[in-house]
């Protein structure tokens, strides 16, 4: 069975900085994969390349057997991949509902614009259902620019699911969210996505989240994949300890402040 996403030998450099070094990743239908790595390790660059926002220096990206390496973002989206952003990208002057309506409007094709206003009955119902699934129906008439961070993230992800993607890349879905809320939000997201049966690739810094939700974990460091496998194994991997997670706090010995 061909994998859903097949990335082979992806390379990307920005001048002398190597953001991606021979990256090979495979994602199966419906899989949930976590990506970890310290800042600057190349995780977001990877997501950017898979979604066509950046072009790799070399290597191929295949989605459902089709080569999408050089496609522009909008074609990649049309093919069935979607993503959410580290900093949520929403239409700040539009309401939450309008944000999703626009997403639906585009997804449903804009071929007969004059005869179907944005606030068309069936579309509004679909939007409300989506808002309900992500638990943000209460915010429906609020301007997106005024939303609290967590809600904005959920809106961002909701917009990404409108086209019913087969693969969704989430870039740090819980960053900027308080510790108490993180799990709640991830529960909502993963429940909504499981209903869609879409494969998920999420970038995360919080190892507890990774441990709980990922079936498989890939660890990046300085543009290279240093470990891959079950979450517990990867997190315990010495290379991962060295480059990504660091030593557990208990094992560290604190040095006394130097005498002046």
């Amino acid at each position: 069975m061909t994998a859903l996403l097949e990335v082979r030998n992806l390379n990307k450099s920005f001048g002398s900085v190597v953001a991606a070094n021979d990256i090979t990743v495979s994602v199966a239908d419906g899989e949930v994969v976590g990506i970890i790595g310290s800042n600057g390790a190349g995780k977001t660059t990877f997501v950017n390349m898979v979604t066509g926002y950046m072009k790799p220096t070399s290597g191929t990206i295949e989605f459902q057997g089709r080569d999408i390496t050089m496609l522009p973002t909008r074609r990649v989206i049309a093919a069935g991949i979607s993503r959410s952003f580290q900093v949520p990208q929403v239409f700040s002057t539009a309401t939450v509902a309008d944000n999703l309506l626009i997403a639906y409007g585009i997804a449903q094709g804009t071929r007969y614009p004059l005869w179907r206003p944005l606030h068309h009955g069936a579309r509004v119902d679909a939007v409300d259902a989506a808002l309900e699934r992500f638990g943000i129906l209460n915010y429906r008439n609020l301007e997106a620019g005024l939303l609290p961070q967590g809600v904005r993230k959920l809106l961002d992800i909701a917009m990404a699911t409108v086209r019913g993607p087969r693969l969704l890349l989430l870039d740090e879905p819980t960053s900027g969210i308080s510790v108490e809320e993180k799990f709640g939000i991830m529960d909502v997201i993963m429940a909504a996505l499981r209903a869609e049966r879409c494969a998920v690739l999420f970038v995360e810094h919080d190892m507890e989240i990774v441990g709980r939700y990922a079936e498989r974990v890939i660890a990046f460091a300085e543009g290279t994949i240093i470990a891959e496998g079950a979450p517990a194994a990867v997190i315990a991997d010495p290379q991962v300890r060295r480059y990504v997670t660091g030593e557990p706090v208990g094992a560290r010995r604190f040095r006394a402040a130097p005498a002046s």
């Binding site: 909008r74 993503r83 990208q89 929403v90 239409f91 626009i102 585009i106 206003p117």
Partner: protein, 317 residues
Amino acid sequence: MDRTTRALLAAAVLLIGASFLIPDWVIFLATVIVAKALVVLGLVILWRTGLMSFGQALYYGLAGYAVGLAQAELGVRDAFLLVGIGILSSAAIALVLGFLLARYRDIFFAMLSLAFSMIFYGTLVRSETLGSTDGFSILLPHFLGYAPGSRAAGHDLLILTVVLAAAAAWLVHRYLASPMGHLTTAIRDNEIRVEYLGYSVERAIRVKYVLAAALAGAGGALVVLAVGHVDPDSTYWTTSGEFVFVTILSGAGSVLAPFLGSALFETLRAYATDYAPHSWQMVLGVCLLLLILFMPQGVWSLFGRVRRLGAKDKVAS
């Protein structure tokens, strides 16, 4: 039928009714006001997308010259055909230029549009066949085979202008309410998001640019038919500047706003011509400054403010 549609219909009916009672000079003024408002309507679409064209005079003037040439070279006299020719010529050029312009935003877009209009101006001024700075005259329009005298032609033209403008404004209103229409403010807010939803921002901008040019062309064709003359001034940067001014004056809040703004503008111009004939540009500049500093949403936003004052007691949802 929503509020805007009702208002458009009412305004059109009223204006056409009044046209039988008002003197000739008011008929002429009304025609110019409504026609120029069409140009501004196009600019409003672009303004909502976050773009300001400093060169709409290109399409405004081009349509005028197309009308004149169609009369002179092709013998076309029918008003409907002439306006159609004006619209199509402007739209065609905009389609081509759009491929370059749609890649740019903000000041690049503004100045590139200015540059293109000035190229056209330069070409016209150097062209002896097109009358150079004098331009040439436009003959009275015919209406579906019927050739009215000067007075009746002016009246018929006003009716045509009002009907066309009302139809255009209604179509733009529907357009702005559709998903494609929402891609105006959406693009202004977040282009990356639009691409990530699967739509080409450049393509959307090109479409809006052609729309704006078509509207400018309609306005330009109607004005030259009303005035009976076309010259390069209609493509000069100051003409573009006036359209920009009216756009800011009107605001982007409603398709009705440009008509109000255009009326206010012509009134302002009438007073300025009387009291300060050599200071028109200064008046324009000062007023534009005051508008930008104190009322950047345009006069239409005043209606919104009044409505909100009335609703202040309601609890926010």
